[in-house]
């Protein structure tokens, strides 16, 4: 790195650094932070509130129940199909309305959508995740809710899932995509 960066170019450097950072974060991720606003950390409490409601729904609708997941993969109950299907329908209509009426965020920012590009990871990784989902009865969200519901041993599942994520990051360059 050249050390004669003056004030102007160091600004450019920061912008470049930020866009590189964004690129890394956006890699293989549908979940990226699109806000360009810089808020204080306690602004994040509103997401905690959304999470709490979400966790309550998870438990009360028994979505995090191992038994419900087993029923789903044995076609013994409509419950999970109903939950996921109606969630997608409501999500779909909401996104259409946001796009049609150009609804902005509560801070007046334009809401952004990003297209997802296809890679073979969605097939290999998807199959692997499916195997894990049926065995643990949980996707990542329910792991957190199950721990909250008192199944403390699921902390080990969560740590294993974090380890799985880390190993993926480590092997990423060598895996087919």
């Amino acid at each position: 790195m050249s050390n004669n960066i003056n004030l102007q170019t160091s600004d450019e450097f920061i912008v470049e650094q930020e866009s590189h950072d964004y690129e890394v974060r956006a890699t293989d991720s549908v979940c990226i932070n699109d806000s360009h606003l810089h808020h204080k950390w306690y602004y994040n409490f509103k997401y905690l509130a959304v999470g709490i409601i979400f966790g309550i729904v998870f438990l009360k609708a028994e979505i995090i129940s191992w038994f419900r997941i087993q029923e789903m993969f044995r076609l013994q109950s409509f419950h999970m199909y109903g939950v996921i299907g109606s969630a997608v329908m409501v999500g779909l209509v909401s996104v259409l309305l946001i796009k049609k009426f150009k609804i902005k965020t509560i801070y007046g920012e334009e809401i952004e959508f990003h297209d997802k590009t296809f890679n073979k990871g969605q097939i290999y990784g998807g199959l692997l995740f499916g195997l894990g989902w049926a065995i643990t009865g949980a996707c990542p969200g329910p792991l957190f809710a199950q721990i909250g519901s008192g199944a403390t041993v699921i902390i080990v599942s969560l740590l294993s899932a974090i380890a799985g994520t880390w190993v993926y990051g480590y092997l990423r360059e060598r895996l087919p995509h």
Partner: protein, 189 residues
Amino acid sequence: MDYIDYIKNPWPWYVAGPLIGLTVPALLILGNKTFGISSSLRHICAMCLPAKIPFFTYDWKKEIWNLFFVFGILIGGIVAITILKNPDPILINPDLAIELAKYGVNDFHGLVPVQLFSWESLFTLKGLIMIVVGGFTVGFGTRYAGGCTSGHAIMGLSTLQWPSLVATCCFMVGGFIMANLILPYVLSL
């Protein structure tokens, strides 16, 4: 008090599904956040052990909202199990009950079968596979696929992303294979 009793009963799919669907616009409108949960695992890696791996070398503080969100899910679990607890055992399909009884699983209290997921069972081969190998596969698979049920199935399908449809179909195929073809062997261990 009838109202509280009503809330304590298990919620039907047509209440829970739309509420989950509403998370999509809620996060977008609150701050342009894209609904997704498995990313939180990646942020935890980036926060605790980036180990100079390019995939984890980014400013995780920008994604801290996601960690607030998943911590909220955990608290939601505590609230639901204490204040809004359903006192009855979970009603399950009789065919599933018969099948699970063959493997000695007959306690349907709680959302997670205590006979399979407990600290005691962690140190058995069956428990190790279900808790540790299962968890590892969830973490590895979701990141490899670029998202989980929330990011791909709900957010991805809501925004009509065809790669998310591919991923969702693969989740289901993997689940059917495990539940019907592999899990019986694991449960008989």
